[in-house]
Amino acid sequence: MDNTQLEEFIKKLDQDIEINEGKQYLEVTLPADKIHSVASQLKEDEKTRFDYLFCLTGVDYGQDLGVVYHLRSTVHSHYIVLKVRTSDRENPHFDSVTDIWQTAEYHEREVYDLLGISFNNHPDLRRLFLDSSWGYPLRKDYVDDINIVTK
């Protein structure tokens, strides 16, 4: 499917979806609680078959925290980018997509470790690189006077 067909297909899935024609890939912003249902439909449907999650990124947008999913279909060779955001900085959480793409397990642990975003129904959500005495270094409000040199 090309981007216009994909756009039509996704519009049918849910009404609150915001679609943005990105520079490279089609970017879709979802409400935070819809990620699991939309993701599994995108994977299961014969027409889309997004079976390969090649990148999962946690981002601190300043006010919001978010997760970006880069997907590719090995059958149809098309791409899509899914985005979710939350304004809750104290206890941010999204649904895990580990049961849809197993590769998400490590990616989500990394996001949890570095940004403090937790994932519901994740099989083994522990810190990955750092131990529990650290804060969440990839957050923009992370302060570490000793190790981060600011100009």
Binding site: G22, T57, V59, T74, Q102, T103, L138, I148
Partner: protein, 374 residues
Amino acid sequence: MDDNEKNITADDHQEYVINMGPQHPSTHCVLRLVVSLKGEIVQNIKPHIGYVHRGIEKMCESITYPQIIHLTDRMDYLSAHINNEAVCLNVEKALEIDIPDRIKVIRTIMSELTRIQSHQLWWASFGMDLGGLTCFFYGLRDREKVLDIFEETCGGRMIVSYNCPGGLMYDIHPNFQKRVKEFIKYFRKTLPEYDQLLTGNIIFEERSKGVGQLSLEDAIAYGVTGPSGRASGFSCDVRKQEPYSAYDRVKFNEVLFTEGDTYHRYLARIEEMRESMDIIEQLIDNIPEGPYVVKMKPVIKLPEGEYYQRVETARGELGVYIISDGNKNPYRVKFRSPNFVNLSVLNKISQGFKIADLVAIGGSLDLVIPDIDR
């Protein structure tokens, strides 16, 4: 002695846990695996990583784009040139700069030389892990020749930093073409020795055939790319899917197998070295004339937006995801490193095999730990 301990006999297979690493010789860096065993059989593996975590993604947020390139060398140090190229391609794509053909061709040749030397070192250490010490000498003997070419061209042997946004740091050395051709001629002769030493060796085959099978479905679900994924039949070569640099003008085969065991992950890499030599041979006599670098602004600022670049390193798909807010520093950089993702499948494919096979399986995934930790 309590009741439980009294009843244990030699025939009982109670599950127990051993610690492998962080300084285990077969991991070649600091990777700690906590392995649950029943007898000799692996039940479960929990990797503990982060021993060489430097926070490269965080560091990138406070430095400029040309500086980021030098950090990417330190991720997958065996694919240093390809990592550099990924960042440069992404910056160039964001700024919509046309890159002259000369740069594209030189980058492609350097990338393929990088792939060859990486696979040579992998072959050397993989053979050594499985008890064939000779492999190590043979592999390093040949790898030196590539590193000498790197040294002459860019000054660095492993950490090359040869790319910069807009092209290359310097032009190629006058000897470059001659020496690369000499190397290809030499390596065409010595690559069959690799087959003689390991490929047909009965001990090696017994230890690798049918060990650690990875099915195509799992390869896609776990996102295992590179030769490890292609050995399972996962067509994931970024050079074919989204040709960058000069890959659209060369003919080469994507090495695919369907078995997905340790032996075929091994074969995939050996075959890739041949394909890499083919690519270099097609380009080495046709390096176009032209500038080796495009003049860039002294301060590089990317327009606001998101940019993603995929490249094929020696271990799989590297993704560089840059979110820019229009400043000279990126707002967020994410490196989708191939080793990090390939490690996640280790638990799945090692279950049910002996602990000695774990060394073979881990070696065949070709993990480079600094790329996992970043």
